[in-house]
């Protein structure tokens, strides 16, 4: 978080959310639940990616999912078929999840028992960036059909994340998307970011993403 250069630390306008996020994080660490916040524009492929990632994670880990959606439970229903425990949060008019919404689910047995909690945020590249949930890792998805200039238009979310996934890479032959340029924009904004080009179809480098995720999960469980 930002530190004021003045002698006195000024009050952060979203201090309530940030404190609660910290509380959520402590809770996750007590139960050993590695938690991940997936963020993107609507339709970039969050549910599809979570579904495919679960298929391999569930072989070795207990997993649960929190589905943030403004309305309906289509995605939650879809993900329940994977065998993971899925919790739905209907955000109503709110265009993002916040730490308080997640805090209400902290004491669910299925979440406390999980090794890994995957949180699908509401589809939006602006608001979710301002509301940490207590997650260990922040993943942003950018589908190649959205255009390679999106990191420049939404710099805040691309700067404040751990991984950027370029999704739907099977469509690269049909779309004008300069993957190298997009990768450079993201890396110029965010020195520590990792990027992977993925697809839920055969092409793409889904295996590298899974490898990264499983390594992080293993390191977390060891610590």
């Amino acid at each position: 978080m930002h530190e004021s250069s003045d002698e006195h630390i000024l009050e952060h306008l979203l201090a309530d959310n940030n404190e609660l996020a910290q509380h959520n994080r402590e809770h996750f660490d007590k139960s050993g639940t590695f938690s991940i916040n997936f963020m993107s524009a609507p339709g970039a492929g969050k549910t599809s990616l979570i579904e495919k990632s679960l298929a391999s994670l569930l072989k070795s880990y207990r997993c649960s999912v929190i589905e943030g959606d403004m309305v309906g439970d289509l995605d939650a229903t879809r993900l329940r078929k994977s065998g993971a425990d899925v919790f739905q949060i209907a955000t109503g008019r709110a265009c993002h999840l916040d730490a308080k919404m997640v805090a209400r689910l902290l004491h669910e047995d299925k979440i406390e028992e999980s090794d890994c909690l995957l949180i699908e945020n509401v589809g939006n590249l602006v608001c979710p960036a301002e509301f940490p949930l207590g997650e260990h890792k922040r993943i942003v998805l950018l589908s190649i059909t959205e255009g390679d200039d999106k990191p420049l238009k939404y710099p805040v979310i691309f700067r404040n994340c751990d991984v950027v996934l370029f999704t739907k890479c099977d469509l690269l032959p049909y779309v004008n998307f300069d993957l190298a340029a997009a990768k450079k924009y993201v890396e110029d904004l965010n020195p520590k970011v990792k990027t992977f080009s993925v697809s839920i179809k055969e092409s793409g480098d889904f295996a590298s993403w899974m490898q990264w995720l499983e390594n992080e999960l293993k390191d977390y469980k060891k610590a």
Partner: protein, 119 residues
């Protein structure tokens, strides 16, 4: 939009400060600092503030003064001080490298509450 949430936090914070001051004081102005490297649209924030303030006693005639802070950073390779922005693709004009450490522009802070004795 999340500007409504931010406007509400500003009013909540200010309301508790006004209560601490006590007496019959009313709020005239709230000053906040908002960095450009934040997802806050000043018009949306102002709109949200104006529509929420009547719900807070003593804030009926309060104005919100949001000071924007331009983003400044040290570039990653040359250690040059520059203003990362859309126009330079967030890269240093002198050496072309990306953002290293951000100096300012990520503020989202409550600065001051100006009050007046009411009756």
């Amino acid at each position: 939009m999340h500007e409504a949430t931010i406007a509400q936090s500003i009013l909540d914070l200010a309301a508790s400060k006004l209560e601490q001051i006590g007496g019959y004081n009313i709020a005239l102005k709230i000053c906040v600092k908002i960095g450009q490297f934040r997802n806050v649209d000043n018009h949306s924030l102002d709109f949200a503030f104006e529509s929420l303030k009547s719900m807070y006693a003593g804030f009926e005639s309060c104005r919100l003064e949001a000071q924007s802070v331009k983003a400044e950073a040290w570039c990653r390779e040359g250690n040059h001080r520059y203003n990362p922005c859309f126009e330079n693709a967030f890269c240093c004009e002198r050496c072309g490298s990306g953002i290293g450490k951000i100096i300012c522009g990520e503020e989202l802070e409550f600065v001051d509450l100006i009050t007046e004795a009411g009756n």
